[in-house]
């Protein structure tokens, strides 16, 4: 018994001594190699997939070997940190620490060389472009969310009762797979404008002309252009709301609905008094999620109007301040404002988490 255990231990030590340096060399070597972008794209991709998978697994494997050299009691104490360690370190570097750093930067001047007090925040709340951005963001939050949730609910209710449930859902859901830039191009084409008399190539203006109206530059006139941008967002997000709400509707008890109908309740009453209250939780979740998306969406404005004609929103202003005007102070301050706006959701999520029994 003792001999066998010694044998096993020797084997473990040998494996650790051989494998750990090997995996460190592969990890660091791959990192340095990839940093210099020396290969063609296809080779880089293949190399990265193999290197990435191998490095991650090798990291856990060799750390596990090292910890196994300790007695079992120590092993059980250390091993959890081996497993959560990489994730926590990466999340810390990419999300947690940057939050603090951005907060600090938001009180500094444009290139972070001197303390600027509340200057950046004063700018955010007084500048006229920023005021437009705030106003428009509120429009996005209100109308983007309301319409996406409403249409999602409407289609979910219709799909349930129709003969084309699956196809209908897929078609409405499809835009979720399209990028905001792609959606931007799709809708820019819908909104395309040609002067009076020319053949309209944009569907919307063609319809207007067909009904005897004058073609309009939909994206060029404030404040209505904001709504034409929001339509794109609604078009993208309705599918999400449909899918979540349709799943929730499946959970509403048939028996209660049936009982109400037998008692003489009209279909509309059943909907308002039974169905909607029972999926209330899902409606709140969907609304919150879509609001978060509206708050952070920058792509649509950036690729459609670049913030011109009074269409600026907070997220697009943030990008511009950072990367066009290179004002890190103001850029960070806007990021902090966006963070403050989502903080109620963070608080709510943490409260829900606290209720969970598993922890």
């Amino acid at each position: 018994m003792q001999i066998q255990r010694d044998q096993e231990r020797k084997e473990l030590v040998v494996r650790t001594v051989v494998f750990t340096p090997f995996s460190i060399i592969v990890m660091v070597g791959g990192f340095l190699l990839l940093r210099n972008n020396p290969m063609s794209q296809i080779l880089t991709t293949l190399f990265a997939i193999v290197w990435g998978t191998f490095s991650v697994l090798a990291l856990f494997y060799s750390m596990n070997l090292i910890v196994q050299l300790f007695p079992t009691r120590k092993y059980n104490k250390i091993i959890p940190f081996v497993f959560v360690g990489p994730a926590i370190l990466i999340i810390g570097w990419y999300l947690l620490i940057p939050t603090v750093r951005s907060l600090v930067l938001s009180f500094m001047n444009r290139n972070s060389t001197a303390f600027a007090g509340l200057e950046n925040y004063k700018y955010i709340f007084t500048d006229s472009t920023m005021r437009t951005a705030f106003g428009n963001t509120v429009l996005w939050l209100l109308f983007g969310t309301a319409f996406a949730v409403f249409f999602g609910l409407l289609t979910a209710l219709m799909a349930e009762r129709s003969a084309i449930e699956k196809l209908g859902k897929t078609l409405v859901f499809l835009p979720m797979g399209i990028s905001m830039v792609g959606a931007g191009v799709i809708w820019k084409f819908m909104y395309a404008y040609k002067p009076v008399g020319a053949n309209q190539t944009g569907l919307l203006n063609a319809l207007v002309v067909a009904f005897g109206g004058e073609p309009k530059s939909w994206l060029g006139t404030a404040p209505m252009n904001n709504f034409f941008l929001i339509i794109i967002f609604v078009w993208l997000q309705t599918g999400f709301s449909l899918v979540v709400l349709a799943a929730a509707l499946k959970g509403v008890s048939e028996e209660i609905k049936e009982a109400a109908r037998i008692d003489g309740a009209k279909e509309f009453t059943v909907l308002m008094k039974i169905v909607l209250p029972s999926i209330y939780g899902s409606i709140v979740t969907v609304s919150t999620t879509i609001m978060l998306a509206a708050l952070k969406s920058f792509d649509i404005v950036y690729s459609m109007t670049n913030g011109l004609y009074g269409t600026e929103v907070l997220a697009s202003q943030q990008y511009k301040q950072m990367f066009k005007f290179l004002d890190y102070g103001r850029g960070s301050a806007i990021a902090i404002i966006i963070l403050l706006a989502v903080s109620p959701v963070i608080y709510y999520n943490l409260k829900e988490f606290n209720k969970r029994e598993v922890f």
Binding site: N37, N64, K77, G177, L350
Partner: protein, 301 residues
């Protein structure tokens, strides 16, 4: 109700209304798909809905130009001219693949390992660390851009594929850990216990049991992350811009096309379609997993 039994009148009306709604939802995409196959003159002078009246106007040339880069002639030093091709959607497509696949694969095992520890091991700080993951689920990634960009400039990761993989890994990890935790914590305790009695250590457990058992959850996250990374514009603009035109991904390329060739609808629509084809294929064929990922937590920053 469906198929065999006759539909009620209200079901018929609802079906009709839904068809109408779907039509409105699909027409914009159909418009660019049709235009992308139309001759440049036809696309510029008439609406795409008239395209089927003139079938000879259909062409594949737009895709050739978009995928291979637009042809133009430049003067050479000797006084002659040479044919060149500009930046193309073809190379952007390759670049997007280069960005996306590792950015999907690298976070998976890191997140799975963390989820395993959170679900099945007890250690000091477990609660507070998991609370951190939950809190960071919805933190807008805008908050990280400037600090991370500075770090990247210091260590030479700016404008490299490695840098953007790591960035997407960092931004995707909270969601990945959360989805995988929800799944891994439901694995029956008895399965794990019997493996430990057989003398397995945590690494063998993880590779032999946890990962194979979690495949559905891994797939959900993978699909979600794939579509998210492929369609991302912001992260690519910030961390990949230093890498030059060859590294541009499809979303950035398409945005630039919309800026410079804003009225060349025959090219722009073809470009848009090239940028959409892969995520839409993945999306349609693996919709089930995507929906699961979405339901599990679509609140990514």
């Amino acid at each position: 109700m469906k198929g065999t039994v006759k539909m009620t009148r209200s079901a018929k009306i609802i079906t009709l209304l839904l068809i109408l709604f779907c039509l409105v939802w699909t027409v914009p995409t159909a418009g660019i798909l049709i235009t992308s196959f139309r001759d440049s003159d036809a696309a510029a002078s008439s609406g795409w809905w008239t395209a089927f009246g003139n079938l000879k106007d259909f062409t594949l040339k737009n895709y050739d130009e978009v995928l291979g880069g637009q042809r133009f002639t430049v003067g050479t030093a000797g006084g002659g001219t040479a044919a060149r091709r500009g930046a193309s959607m073809g190379s952007a497509f390759l670049s997007s693949i280069t960005v996306t696949l590792p950015a999907v694969i690298i976070p998976i095992f890191i997140a799975a390992a963390a989820a395993y520890a959170f679900a099945w091991m007890s250690f000091p700080g477990r609660r507070i660390l998991f609370a951190m993951v939950i809190a960071l689920l919805v933190v807008p990634l805008q908050i990280s851009l400037i600090p991370i960009l500075r770090d990247y400039q210091k260590i030479g990761l700016n404008g490299t594929y490695l840098g953007i993989w790591l960035a997407h890994t960092g931004f995707g990890l909270p969601l990945a850990t959360y989805i995988l935790f929800n799944y891994i914590s439901t694995i029956p305790r008895s399965i794990l216990e019997s493996a430990f009695i057989d003398g397995a250590n945590h690494f063998t457990m993880f590779v032999r049991l946890i990962v194979p058992l979690s495949v559905p959850a891994l797939a959900s996250f993978a699909i979600f992350q794939f579509i998210w990374v492929w369609n991302d514009l912001l992260v690519a603009l910030v961390f990949l811009s230093g890498g030059g035109q060859m590294m541009e991904v499809v979303t950035v390329r398409l945005m630039n096309m919309a800026g410079t060739r804003g009225s060349d609808w025959h090219l722009l629509t073809a470009g848009a379609f090239v940028s959409m084809i892969l995520p839409l294929t993945v999306f349609l064929s693996l919709q089930k997993y995507f929906v699961k990922g979405l339901l599990a937590g679509s609140v990514k920053g």
